[in-house]
């Protein structure tokens, strides 16, 4: 059974309290390093940072208001070749779901990683946060407002800035991890919740790390459910709007006409799992004559070519496992509504196989398995 506890907060130092706890894990040698977001020296952003030396724990935060990269990608780099020491990593729920999916595709090795998941109110676009700072918002102040808003699950939009679209429609505000840091429903100025999974509980006992056991506050469930239902409503609205906009091939092409085929969505995506992308191989380096033949048949062709096939094939590969983190859209220089596309299409395809990406490490991704008795020709699915 997982152990349910609280950490007492003194003097409104919420982040510091959790960081102290993480420091203890490092000091006691449970882990050799810690991956955690850290403020940039410029003060207008945060990046994931791998910390070995505890004196480097200054300016780190567990509540990073931005998510410049999907840490599932970072953990793939970190763990896939010879990671022989334990590392604890602080992640948002969508990052953990990405980690679970990439583990299934054998691109992350979890054995030496301890996942620390944190309740997520949402994240801002990197540029929005930088603008807030420019407009005079100070992080200490914003941090406190952000965390306090989580107690009752209030909508948070400082200075008229909103969370990223993907966050506004994310139905997974709570992470499932080895260590779960809980804020929704907690009176964070006094205490925050923490839950330790079995494999770590033993380690904690061995190293003499004790926690004050305490159940969750009664209204935490209510708060979490409220957030989930708000976001589900938003999600359904986005689905509906997208379907109204994309009715046929022509409307899709119109919507995506500004795609510059930069492949940023692919680079940012935690799920895009091919080691060598077919769109970056010689298969798509056409001969000059080929372009002319296409142009000859159609009268004229859009350049660069192959945008439609790129999006469709990328979807065919990743949409069953799309965790909806929306970093594809954050990375898109043309501001295409790729989150809405992948969420709308993904939802239907995932339902086809009753699959929820990131739900359970033991569920096999739909593309990697089959059932003998399914998808009959008569059903019209084929």
């Amino acid at each position: 059974m997982a152990k349910q506890a609280v950490i007492k907060v003194s003097g409104k130092k919420i982040n510091e309290t959790v960081v102290q706890f993480l420091k203890l894990i490092l000091e006691k040698g449970l882990v050799e390093a810690l991956l955690i977001p850290r403020a940039l020296p410029t003060g207008d952003g945060f990046v994931q940072t791998l910390i070995r030396n505890i004196t480097n724990l200054n300016n780190v935060t567990i509540f990073s208001p931005t998510m410049p990269v999907q840490s599932a990608r970072i953990l793939s780099n970190l763990s896939i070749k010879n990671l022989n020491k334990k590392v604890a990593v602080v992640l948002k729920p969508c990052e953990i779901r990405g980690v679970i999916e990439l583990t299934k595709f054998l691109q992350i090795k979890l054995e030496n990683l301890y996942l620390i998941g944190i309740d997520c109110p949402g994240t801002f676009e990197v540029s929005d946060y930088a603008n807030m700072v420019k407009e005079g918002k100070n992080w200490g102040e914003l941090e406190l407002e952000l965390i306090k808003s989580m107690e009752k699950g209030d909508v948070f939009s400082p200075m008229g800035y909103h969370f990223r679209d993907a966050c506004q429609m994310c139905e997974y505000p709570v992470a499932k991890a080895d260590i779960m840091i809980k804020l929704f429903g907690y009176h964070v100025e006094d205490e925050i919740g923490i839950e330790i999974e079995d494999r770590l509980e033993v380690e904690f006992e061995k190293n003499g790390i004790t926690l004050q056991e305490a159940g969750e506050p009664s209204y935490r469930k209510e708060v979490v459910n409220k957030i989930i239902s708000q976001r589900t409503n938003k999600r359904d609205k986005v689905f509906k709007e997208f379907k109204e906009r994309v009715k046929d091939l022509q409307s899709f092409l119109d919507l995506f006409s500004t795609c510059i085929r930069c492949h940023n969505c692919m680079v940012a995506c935690p799920i895009c799992y091919c080691k060598e992308c077919v769109f970056r191989t010689a298969i798509f380096e056409h001969e000059g004559d080929q372009f002319l033949r296409w142009a000859d048949r159609k009268g004229s062709i859009r350049m660069p070519t192959d945008t439609l096939i790129f999006h469709l094939i990328r979807m065919a590969h990743m949409v069953t496992s799309c965790v909806g983190c929306g970093l594809c859209e954050s990375a898109c220089p043309s501001h295409l509504p790729v989150t809405a596309l992948f969420r709308t299409v993904g939802h239907k395809i995932q339902q086809m196989f009753q699959y929820v990406p990131g739900r359970d490490i033991n569920e096999v991704p739909p593309v990697a398995t089959f059932k003998e008795d399914e998808l009959k020709i008569e059903s019209g699915a084929l």
């Binding site: 159609k298 009268g299 859009r302 299409v345 593309v367 020709i377």
Partner: protein, 140 residues
């Protein structure tokens, strides 16, 4: 004006449907000549990219032929093809490409007649749909 003649690109597995197509020929089954066959070892070898490439480059329909479920020469290739194609078709449907231009059919080596009937039926359906719009769209 001449009647629209659809072009079908067919990906047929070596062990069942290709042999079935062969049988259709040797037994002199009649079927329309609108099909161009590409011979693969297994329906499981059909990547979604082949199907889309054919459609985007102007094929009016794509037929994928494999062994009946349970009969795959490689045990499970056709089951995997089935999921892959269901996912691809699901994606296209969600995006409003509702016309049914992709067909996956199980046709064994002994079903020459079924092969001829399938092609005949597919050609009829595609004639009703008309030409594939991707053939002429400049920005597809």
């Amino acid at each position: 004006m001449a009647e629209f003649e659809p072009r079908i690109v067919a990906f047929l597995c070596h062990w069942c449907t290709y042999t079935g197509a062969d049988l259709a020929g040797t037994t002199r089954q009649q079927y329309p000549p609108n099909i161009r066959i590409i011979h693969l070892m297994c329906s499981g070898a059909v990547d979604s990219i082949y199907i889309l490439k054919a459609l985007i480059d102007g094929a009016d329909g794509v037929l994928i032929g494999g062994c009946h479920p349970g009969d795959c020469h490689y045990q499970t290739g056709n089951y995997k093809a089935r999921r892959r194609i269901a996912i691809l078709k699901g994606i296209l449907n969600q995006m409003g490409f509702t016309e049914d231009r992709i067909w996956l059919r199980w046709i064994s080596a002994s079903e020459g007649k079924l092969f001829a009937d399938t092609v005949t039926q597919m050609v009829e359906e595609l004639k009703k749909m008309g030409p594939n719009p991707m053939r002429t769209l400049w920005n597809a």
